[in-house]
């Protein structure tokens, strides 16, 4: 069963008129939202979608993304929320790997279109805007009616609910499999520590296709609370206006979200007294930034949190009243989760010793979709997950992180695998070698830098490299800086010495 879809139906019965979702001018109460979810589930069934079939979404945050997610669950199928900022070279392997039967997308998304058209047999496309791109497309507003009164699908709790592709490389898609029980467990834990209830509300800009954004969505709908969607932070003052106008009680962001609000918006000019709490995840926030945030919105309790997609979303939280005493910590395990720090042999280390963080709980993924080897690498038979994050626990049991084992770059709310960018740059004529690293950035935490070696006689235009990336990579993966060098520093065995490249050298050199 889908606990989340059932909760939604329960709220629709108990409090039909209560506001559930605001998307621009469109407002949905619980009864209306639930009716749309029923209709989408019925349409999927009419299309022949069966329990366990995959329904992929390539959508920005929108009412359609919410309806498609919950409707897919109500039909007993598996939702595959894809990063809508990705390009055709990502979508195609994801859609193939997931075996998507239906893809819901915007007709104007050319890369989504190109990927769908490259796959045989072609998945059924459902377009949410008015212009269908092909005769075979179904339009969101004209889906088959089906039997809306059919009872919701009854899966087992440990049945697959979602496959979430995380930052891997094109060659090896990493699809995190989450069950309905995983989602229910993590949502219940978060509701407990945030003390979230039906009177709460939030404005969200975090994408639903990332685990943090998904957890904001699901916790609010599970609580019978209200969610206001803002598309992006291009005009940060507009989002603050929405927070004030809608008098929301909570706001969630990554460190760069809060840096942007503090640096670009005169927060003092807005009435933000409705904010009861703020949550921060997605990487460490500098203590100075946290202090400025608390000074700017003093009544709001700041929850620092930590997690990863493989744990549905959340693993640890820092109780706001311990923030001063435990500066730099990501907190303690959330309800229902155990955390341990282990050495490279898998043995638990003593207090204060750095090791790899391991986690166990009902929120830990089932594994990676169609990749038993990758799963076995991180998930033990005893249910413990290797997070890949390094850290230590202090005498009070508070977890402090100290980096990752991998070279993953964190930029804003995104995680980027350097190899993913290196593969693309290397495809360009005239590139002999390339290495990609993250360099420090005040606003985004890190930005991407490519160090390239041009082949002899090659066109050395850096714009040519960026234009090539732009065609093939999501915007946030395009190197902000490119440096041309004569050779890359390497070890005796020929391995690139990334630590030498990842200096704070931000300038562009051709």
């Amino acid at each position: 069963m889908s606990w989340l879809a059932d909760r939604l139906a329960g709220h629709a019965r108990a409090q039909p008129d209560r506001s559930a979702l605001v998307d621009g001018e469109r407002r949905f109460d619980y009864a209306a939202l639930d009716a749309h979810v029923d209709a989408f589930a019925a349409a999927l069934r009419a299309l022949g979608v069966e329990a366990g079939d995959r329904v992929a979404l390539i959508l920005p945050n929108s009412a359609e993304a919410v309806v498609a997610t919950y409707g897919t669950w109500r039909a007993g199928a598996v939702v595959v929320p894809l990063n809508a900022q990705a390009k055709a070279r990502d979508f195609e392997p994801w859609l193939r790997h997931a075996g998507a039967r239906v893809v819901v997308h915007e007709a104007i998304h050319r890369d989504a279109r190109a990927a769908i058209e490259a796959i045989e047999p072609r998945p059924q496309a459902v377009v949410v805007d008015d212009q269908a791109a092909a005769d075979t497309d179904l339009r969101w507003n004209a889906l088959p009616a089906g039997d809306a009164a059919a009872p919701p699908a009854r899966n087992e709790a440990d049945a697959l609910a979602a496959i979430v592709y995380t930052s891997g490389t094109t060659g090896q898609p990493k699809g995190v499999m989450l069950s309905h029980a995983n989602l229910a467990a993590n949502v219940q834990s978060i509701l407990a520590y945030l003390d979230l209830g039906a009177d709460d509300s939030t404005v969200t800009i975090l994408p639903f296709y990332y685990s943090y954004g998904a957890s904001v969505l699901h916790t609010h709908l599970a609580a019978g609370a209200r969610l206001v969607i803002e598309q992006n932070l291009v005009f940060p003052h507009l989002m603050v206006e929405t927070i004030a106008r809608e008098r929301v009680s909570g706001f969630s962001g990554v460190p760069s979200t809060f840096a942007l609000l503090l640096n670009r918006v005169r927060l003092g000019e807005y009435d933000l007294s409705g904010l009861r709490y703020l949550t921060q995840a997605g990487g460490a926030m500098a203590p100075a930034l946290a202090a400025r945030l608390r000074a700017a919105i003093p009544q709001a309790r700041l929850f620092v949190m930590y997690g990863q997609t493989e744990a549905t979303a959340r693993l640890a939280w820092l109780p706001p009243e311990r923030l001063d005493e435990k500066t730099g910590a990501v907190g303690v395990a959330i309800p229902g989760v155990e955390l341990e720090v282990r050495d490279e042999h898998g043995a638990r280390v003593t207090t204060g010793t750095v090791g790899e963080v391991h986690a166990r709980g009902a929120n830990i993924m089932l594994g990676y979709w169609r990749d038993a080897a990758l799963t076995a690498g991180v998930l033990g038979a005893d249910g413990w997950l290797r997070t890949g994050d390094m850290g230590h626990v202090d005498a009070d049991g508070y977890l402090f992180l100290s980096g990752r084992r991998s070279d993953m770059i964190k930029t804003g709310a995104h995680r980027v695998h350097p190899k993913d960018v290196e593969e693309v740059v290397a495809e360009l004529d005239g590139i002999a070698e390339v290495a990609v690293v993250g360099v420090d950035d005040e606003l985004l935490g890190q930005v991407i830098k490519a160090i390239v070696v041009f082949a002899e006689g090659a066109d050395r235009s850096l714009d040519r490299v960026k234009a090539h990336c732009r065609e093939r990579l999501a915007t946030y993966k395009i190197p902000k800086f490119i440096e041309a060098v004569a050779e890359l520093p390497k070890t005796a065995s020929g391995k690139i010495r990334r630590s030498l490249l990842a200096s704070n050298e931000r300038r562009e050199v051709s």
Binding site: I108, Q231, D463, A467
Partner: protein, 82 residues
């Protein structure tokens, strides 16, 4: 060079890394699809302020004025007239 052409060349050069005018239609959204993010929008606004010696107020920083090349050109024309 007229406003629209100047703005378009700045956007092409700095966000699309090309001088191919066909890469972007004047009515294409710069925000949807992520051509310009928050930092990029601020750079564009600085560029406009510098080039035409005008001041863009907070309340003018809205999609209606900055969503497309057409909208930005119309905004600059209004500001210069006004």
């Amino acid at each position: 060079m007229d406003h629209k052409r100047q703005i378009k060349q700045f956007v092409l050069k700095n966000y699309l890394f090309t001088d191919d005018e066909s890469a972007l239609a004047d009515g294409d959204s710069l925000i949807r699809g992520g051509t310009i993010d928050s930092t990029g929008m601020l750079e564009l606004i600085f560029h406009i302020e510098e080039t035409w010696k005008l001041k863009v107020a907070d309340e003018e920083m809205v999609p209606a004025n900055f969503e497309t090349i057409d909208a930005i050109a119309a905004f600059v024309t209004r500001k210069l007239a006004g």
